[in-house]
Amino acid sequence: MASTLSIHDWFNRKQQQKEIARERLDIPGNVWVKCFKCGQAIYAKDLEENLKVCPKCQYHFKLTSAERIRQLTDSFLEINPALTSKNFLNFTDSKSYTARIEDSILKSGLKDAIVTGHARINGFDAALGVMDFSFMGGSMGSVVGEKIARLIEEAIEKKSPVIIFSTSGGARMQESIMSLMQMAKTSAVLGRLRETGIPYISVLTDPTTGGVSASFAMLGDVNLAEPNALICFAGPRVIEQTIRQKLPPGFQRSEYLLAHGMLDAVVDRRELKEALTKLLKFFKN
């Protein structure tokens, strides 16, 4: 269909490519990176060394699951890497769910929106799950739910504390009711974990919304968040449309949730490993 490409389509495509490039910060050859928030040009290597936090305004860039795992762990052994999503409802919007899955796998290099496995963090064992926003906006479908359930089951078996990093636009609409049921499933498994007395630390990162915040992300024995992360049940746009009012400043950001008692602490990414280590140490001793 390339021959029928209009100027308009061409511009759209250019724009899309730009957006993809923006999201994928680790493109090699990108020597200078502009901070999304303050506009500061940052030398890519410096940004990397600063754990992708802007040295000027402390803006926390989004991390891929691989970057997160690299930043945080001494070692990591992935489990259930082969699970992939299935278009069991034959769902098609502007394109079929099957095509969306294939595209996302290609673009993100991931199989789905979470990576799970056994990690060592400063010498402490943990069952670690890290969501990835670059796979369909970190949306939770059957695979995300199942990988979390299996991670927790293995944690119970091995008596490892559980740490889950969330970043998600919410439930995956293409799996409809089954994605809602993942909220039930993950919460049920966490209930069982709780019974066994094994700790669970939830780390909420930008953004954590909808069905993910209303299930496992809010259920930590300790709930931590990175600074300025959007954390909500209903998104700010939905609320604005409903109440037709301006939202208070800082609404639904980590610091706002902290002030309203929903989080234990907001932790700068550069201090996160240390904070997790302290918690793991507390629970172990």
Binding site: A82, L83, T84, S85, K86, F88, L89, F91, T92, D93, S94, G141, S142, V143, G145, E146, A149, A171, M173, E175, S176, I177, M178, S179, L180, M181, Q182, M183, A184, K185, S187, A188, V189, L190, G191, R192, E195, G210, G211, S213, A214, S215, F216, M218, L219, I231, C232, F233, A234, V238, I239, T242, I243, Q245, L247, F251, Q252, H260, G261, M262
Partner: protein
Amino acid sequence: MAEKKVNRQLLEFEKPLIELYDKLEKLKTMSESGKFDMTEEVKLMEKRIDAVRQQIFSNLSPSQIVQVARFIQRPTTLDYFGMIFDDFVELHGDRNFGDDPAIVGGIATLDGRSVVVMGHQKGHSTKENLTRNFGTAHPEGYRKALRLMRLAERYNKPVISLIDTPGAYPGVGAEERGQAEAIAKNLREMTELTVPFVAAITGEGGSGGALGIAMGNRVLMMEFAIYSVISPEGCASILFRDAKRANEAAVAMKITAKDMLELGVSDEIIKEPPGGAHQDPKLAAKNLKSAIIKNLNPLLSLSARELIADRYNKYRKMGIFNE
């Protein structure tokens, strides 16, 4: 008669009935004037209306089912409580912040057995709906529900929950007071509940706001109820970039009682009277009651541990994927 008037408020797709109702009205006026005896004709016309309605309802599209599920005349949770239970006493408040009018609950008797009951409450008019927030609950609603579940646990009473909500309330206060946390906590605690728990989706099963009180050992669904992760309008505006394509979304999302049964999300479909529950609320309540009793009975002999395991297994196996 007032009740007939109520029935005249028709669903959009019941338009073919308008003409028939008009004719019925004329026949009745003639009959009442005393000049002619039209009793037979009136009866025939009523029969015809029923037949046409049955015809329409035998083949509803998903988006038509959505209209029935949301219909303002559809029996509400308190309507059903009145018809299903004896001695219902409403218990208010979450003991933390307030009393949410969008979720009601309390104690009642079901067929001679003490039960704890709860459900989303919508209104039959705009005024009632404003009071009830259209059945969209705040965190305090979910926390009230949890408090009632704990009460049930302490005194070993089964829990019955009726679900009918467009979703949890999206607002500043709801977010500030932890809408996400309130729902998440309920999900976890419901799995651990030590007493039998039967949930029935009577109208709209709207996303997390519905699930927040719906994780029963058994989940029943009224014939024209819906259950979905997002409203068809919401899905259409996000995925199809056009809320007007809600009809398509309703089809694509698979949200009907039949779909839920096929996907294993619900356990039983409760038959509704011809033309939907609002045409004959008493019959709808009777069907709902017997389905609740039927599904509750086998649970009564299970131990706390078995009940928890039953629920755990039910939700643990949810999900379809490639391995």
